[in-house]
Amino acid sequence: MIDGGYQGKILRVNLTDQSVREEPLREDWAREFIGGRGYGTRMLVEEVDPNVDPLAPENKVIIATGPLDGTTAPSSGRVMVITKGALNGAIASSNAGGYFGPMLKRAGYDMVVIEGVSPTPVYLWINKGRVEFRDASHLWGKLVPESDQLMREETHLQAETMIIGPAGERLSRISGVMFSGHRASGRTGVGAVVGSKNLKGIAVRGTLGVAVADHDAFLEAVRSTRSILAANPVASGGLPTYGSAVLVNIINSTGSLPARNAQEAFFPEAAKISGESLRDHNLVRNEGCADCPLACGRVTEIREGKYKGEHGGGPEYESVWSFGAMCGVSDLDAVVMANFLCDRYGLDTISAGSTVACAMELYEKGYMPKDDAPFALRFGDAEAMVDCVRAMAEQKDDFGKLLAQGSYRVAEYYGHPELSMSAKKQEFPAYDPRGIKGIGLEYATSNRGACHVRGYSIAAEVLAPGLDRLVYEGKAQVTKFLQDLTAALDSAGICLFTTFGLQAADLAQLVAAATGFRIDEKEFLTIGERIWNMEKLFNLKAGFTAKDDTLPPRILHDPIPAGPSKGEVEELDKMLGEYYTLRGWGKDSVPTRARLTDLGIAELA
């Protein structure tokens, strides 16, 4: 018996025969994996063959909320898209904010499982427990904001939407899924998987409430967690004031801001693309996702120059970096425009910017023949950067089609895969591991490919005093701890950014009060470790090995040429062995039977 936090129902939709089925939420899985990323992944590993082609009808997409979605728990409106990812074939889950998660719960469902392929483009209209398959042929090819508007006009103006843009329709392997108009589940190519199913999106509306198990305990947990965040300088100072791009100057000052496809790690013009500059030049107002006291979201506009009059949401830190420093571009308006294009077409901004940077290096070094590019690709050329993003978004020519597959496939095509700044084919984000050692371990071991939001060691290595960013000792431990913590909070429906102030015990307190489960700090972390190992087992079956737990040769061998981290390389091996040991894995990156038994998932091996 579950007393609160969940609606207790999962909606299963088969696009091939347009059938719909409701299933009860399994209490044992809710207790073992919470919800969201954990529960959704548990379903996926049960139902999807790890060796299936991600774009085949047999792959499934699970859209999952957690028990905190729809409550006043701080920053608790997160939604997770779980599938076998199109970018690299690894277990994929990609998280977004907005308001879709809470609304899905008000429609009566904790999760939606999408199966099969529709013969023609459709979207789903989930309204108060009823599901309609709606023709989407008039929306196919339309940009995300326009599709969002039309879908809400055709269903209900207060509906919330999940939508793929033209990038997902055209199966770009770096395409994402957009929620509430401009919040992105960007990473791992989840947009292409949805596109392969001919599903334009979902509109959802509901009128049900979300109950919690212990009213008084929940109110107290909300009060205490919100007051901790209110007193935290990052959560209620830096982030609301400057957005996540407040990090540009901070990370650059450590000499760890990858620039020009990570040929450098210090960007002299960083101030021009910083959160401070964004506030001065483009910010209209802050936007908060559901129940978020941080409101790091930016509503922005471009006030002068070539892109004058354009407006939208973002950019956040990683996007500012990928289109800015990574491409050597210091024109903030161009960076903001590239971000708008990605949101409208449904592209992942990290992968898109890093792919442009990779193409620029291939071009400048002569590996990409000049005839292959429709215009000159030079680092620092803001217009070329935006045009590249437009080309990969529209896929009108071979150049755009190639770039839309991400940097690894571009670099491999031209015979230099080492120039893709990625791990497991996924582009790494805005922190150079040579100058912040622990984050490299996270990039190398993250189950979905290079990623910062699965074990955000930057919080410990840079933002809080404690760990020296340039030492290796202690990094394996902090990475494992943060990976486990994040897996659990991703399953609760709460935002990673709450951990700037909240500890595992605070998050466990919220989940326990909402669900009535006996979850303390230790159990919360055990659940996270269980999820991490479950994801790992899927990847092993999909063919990933210890050899894939690595970083681009540039990061491992080429010293940073200048700046505060001059001379540094990333010696990954100094952390990797210790990491495997802490995880209870062999040197071959395979979990031991003993550890899996401890975690209660030996049957998944």
């Binding site: 729809g70 409550t71 006043t72 308001y99 008000r106 969002d148 508007q149 809400r152 108009g181 009128t207 049900l208 409430g209 979300v210 109950a211 919690v212 009213h215 109110l219 909300v222 009060r223 919100r226 965040l229 209110a230 209620s236 609301p240 209209v284 107002r285 802050n286 936007e287 908060g288 996702c289 559901a290 129940d291 978020c292 006291p293 941080l294 409101a295 979201g297 509503v299 407006h311 949401g313």
Partner: protein, 163 residues
Amino acid sequence: MRVLVLEPAKCTGCRACMDACSFEKTGVFNPLDARINVTTFHEDLTFVPSVCTQCEIPYCAQVCPTGALVKNAETGRVDFLGEKCIGCKQCVVACPWGSIRLNHVGKEIIKCDHCDGDPACVKVCSPKALTYVEVEDMVASKQAGVAGAYRKIAEEMSRGVNP
């Protein structure tokens, strides 16, 4: 007398006020049962909160045939006396703000009562788009804000800059 002050320019559209309100009033999170509302304008991402303004001339009370809505001289609030309500919904029609509403099943009249002096919405509004203040302090703070702007203009004029 304290009033709920709404400042749309500070609202981030997170809607925590609606969730907190419904939880306070019904024990369940459901924005359709919230006495406060936030309207999102998707085209330019603006967010506008609205709630009962506790009018001095409450149309809702004027049209109520059973005296279920009464202006309270002591608190300044318009009280809703549920036991007198016959569900005719004339108050919903009369309210110029749409701030008297029907609950999520469409039966029961709901309106803001300031949580009897301790509004739940204010506690979760971190950008302070909602505040609960003495009415004279509200006016004073607005005056101070306007005066600040005038002072800047005066300074610039004294330096010969024409604003």
